[in-house]
């Protein structure tokens, strides 16, 4: 042990004791040198931030210039429900103060600005980027910028709608080693970008691919076509969404029944976030980012889908690249 870099301090050893027993000292050291950026501070991302700040990452940058509203705080345990405190401050500013307090060993800061305007130079300093509540266009462009960086920037996007959640992971070319029966084996994974992943022809996917995956694509596309703000949909949109579903399914030679009405209806109707699902998705996402930074454990490739209705948390590999 103690091969790379300096040793952990006594304080770090004491606070991180229980998790060092899970992933080891080297992984902890790598975590403490990592830099992470998040944008879109709703419930799931808040849960994620809490998890990685507690785990002891090096730094965390928060981006969300929205002013606090009651709806934005529905699943936010970081911000006190006191108007005197919250007035006039952005969501990122408020969360930042609170997260600093969680773990003084982590540097937490606010990065103002529109996510769409951050450039490659900005992203290349980072180890992981997590975005949420943004348009499809922005999602694709941030992912592309991360891919242009000379060193790998792990990219994640996450969305929760009603009691469903989806995580997308892009680790580009990712190699890691794991122990199997006392032997160390080298593993290589190749990830597609978000743009390439969602372009994978639906008919080429296995029959049993999660229905939630398709439903999310329909709604995402609907928001794009209608030029809506992210997640600005409602039950009233159902007729038009069903129309879009028909078009998409026909164009992609897939039976419409793969995307049940009821599922679309649920995804559209959700007004507020659902804290238990935020905790579950934020937990899985936190674990994935820790895996990618520490190089310990099998990272998921490349979608994770959870629906509280059936309780399944499913991994789908949506890519043309076969490993």
């Amino acid at each position: 042990m103690g091969k790379e870099g300096e040793e952990l301090t006594e304080q770090e050893t004491a606070i991180y004791d229980r998790q060092i027993r899970v992933w080891g000292v080297d992984a902890q050291r790598r975590l403490s040198k990592s830099h992470i950026f998040v944008s879109g501070l709703k419930g799931t991302v808040i849960e994620f931030c809490k998890n990685i700040v507690l785990a002891g990452v090096g730094s965390l940058m928060l981006n969300d210039d929205r002013l606090v509203t009651e709806e934005l705080l529905s699943a936010n345990f970081l911000v006190p429900s006191d108007e005197n405190v919250t007035r006039g401050k952005s969501l990122a500013e408020l969360c930042c103060e609170s997260l600093k307090d969680f773990n003084p060993m982590v540097s937490v800061s606010v990065e103002k600005g529109d996510l769409a305007n951050f450039d490659v130079e900005f992203f290349q300093k980072l180890d992981a980027v997590v975005i949420s509540c943004c348009s499809l266009l922005t999602k694709k462009s941030v992912n592309a910028k991360c891919r242009k960086s000379p060193r790998r920037v792990a990219f994640y996007s996450v969305e929760c709608r009603d009691s469903c959640g989806e995580i997308f992971v892009d680790l580009q070319n990712y190699s890691y080693s794991k122990k199997k029966n006392e032997e160390t084996i080298e593993c290589h994974l190749q990830y597609p970008s978000f743009e390439d992943a969602i372009a994978v022809p639906w008919r080429s996917l296995p029959m049993r691919t999660s229905k939630l995956y398709f439903a999310m694509r329909v709604i995402e596309r609907f928001e794009e076509l209608e030029k809506r703000n992210p997640q600005d949909v409602s039950a009233g949109d159902l007729p038009n969404v069903l129309k879009l579903r028909k078009e998409l399914c026909e164009a992609r030679c897939m039976n419409e029944s793969q995307i049940p009405d009821l599922l679309l209806q649920r995804l559209l109707a959700a007004r507020v976030e659902f804290p238990p699902v935020c905790a579950i998705i934020g937990g899985v996402l936190g674990q994935e980012v820790i895996k990618a930074i520490s190089g310990k454990g099998d990272p998921l490739k490349n979608f994770f889908l959870f629906d509280a209705m059936d309780g399944k948390g499913i991994i789908e590999d949506i890519s043309n690249i076969n490993n």
Partner: protein
Amino acid sequence: MDTIEVSNLNRQFLFRQKHVGQSKAKVAREAVLKFKPHIKITPYHANVKDPEFNVDFFKQFNVVLNGLDNLDARRHVNRLCLASGVPLVESGTTGFLGQVTVHVKGKTECYECQPKPAPKTYPVCTITSTPTKFVHCIVWAKDLLFAKLFGNKNQENDLNVRSTDASSSSEHTEDVFEHRVDEDVEQYGRRIFDHVFGYNIEVALRNEETWKNRNKPRPVYTRDALPPRPIEQNGNKDKASNTGDPSSVSAMASLGLKNPQDLWSLRENSEVFLEALGLFFLKREKEIGQLGFDKDDQLAVEFVTSAANIRATSFGIPLHSLFEAKGIAGNIVHAVATTNAIIAGLIVLEAMKVLQNDVKSYRMTYCLEHPSRKMLLMPVEPFEPNKSCYVCSETPLTLEINTHRSKLRDFVEKIVKAKLGMSLPLIMHGVALLYEVGDDLEEDEVANYAANLDKVLSELPSPVTGGTILTVEDLQQELKCSINIKHREEFDEEKEPDGMVLSGWTPALATEKNKTSDNGPSSSNASQTVPLEPEDDDEIEIILKDPEILSAGKKRKSTDISVAADSEISSVTGAMLIKSKVEADDSHSDVMVDGNLDTNKKKRVQ
């Protein structure tokens, strides 16, 4: 009852460094109120096994959410939930694994319907004579050597090798471990060292039979492990006057060893051993004779680590760092924030189904490290109650016992307490009361029961023999069961160490093992890593009360129900009771936070 520790802070996000030492229940309450000011939270900094939390108390709630850290308390709450008819959501995590299960009386299995994995126990001789793994050395160092030197002297202890000629050890050893009045501490330490790592190994080697198919151990003496003793120079005496607080005394500190992750050489281990032993005598002398091993006691961990490593050297077993040894000796559960968050979310989902009485949707959910059939979170339909579960059905038990030799005390300790998990038992033979515990007993009753404890079963005032049916009851748990007694003359000492066999009972992780002093090594619960029955020291117990929903059958929007049960509660350490009262439109709720029942702490091996 639990208080906040530094090692909780990596995942129990309601707590901060400044809260270390405070009540988890109380601090958690304050923290939750900051972001949800309009709910009512009542913290109980108490043990859930306290009599005030009786069946009537439980009956106020609509659901109990358990996240306890020990089997004893889990069984207790399971029984109270059964007795009060309140649904229970159970949960646990260890590392990346976790699970959530739902237990509703008559509808799904209870927490005790399935046998629990047996505790890791080791044959006495493996620990005393033929260790093959590091954990064996840890058990030896902790439960035998440490207990012998610093614990209760009256406790039985198998430290000395059982040699063929019993006379050579017993008498001889009593003075070996005694610290003589004018004896120099360093000298004493070396004498102990040479005795346990040198002489005892040589005695063991004489048992040629033992080593026929095994590698022979190598005796280690101080003269081999350490350079010749320097005159007038030993660490502990020099530093003795500098350290003020006895709890901060550390052999590593006085020897200049910094990194707990480092592997120490035999020499370093030997130095730590002598230094730690010396420091106990010089700085913590008052505690000697009543110390139990505690993973948070730095000096104790140092002593046990070094002793285990020296023993491991003798037996050709790979050495371990203090960090690793501490984990094994303290049975430390691995825990991360992410798994806790996931499990907490799942707990809330199940609790909401329970509140909506959506029985068909109940699921047991497993959080896996590696996906199974693409699933990382795997829901499974709950099982029906096990018809032969003595806790939730009425299955009679059978006990084979030697009624002429076993005393009532053995029956109470080994069966009623350890196996049936009762804490306030009442034992009846027909209408005759044989035994009872309680505060309201008359003096003569107390004397009577005490006398009964020391009688063999067949000589009790109402004799218990083959064919007798005993009724055993715990009034607090409202659990009652019958035991058919079958007389049996002989028992196998190794396979049936209790000298009695209970059948028709689902064996469980008997945490009570530690209380019984039958044999040291088996009392260790080290390395109990059980994948699907994880125990965590982040414990939560949440009870939701929602009379309106159940009586009026109103269905609320799920988002409303999450009141007190947002995931945030998830990572609280400490048992929690939450009751939420929900009116038709506005929701306000009561949350009761109960301190953790860290029974592990009081269950140290003597």
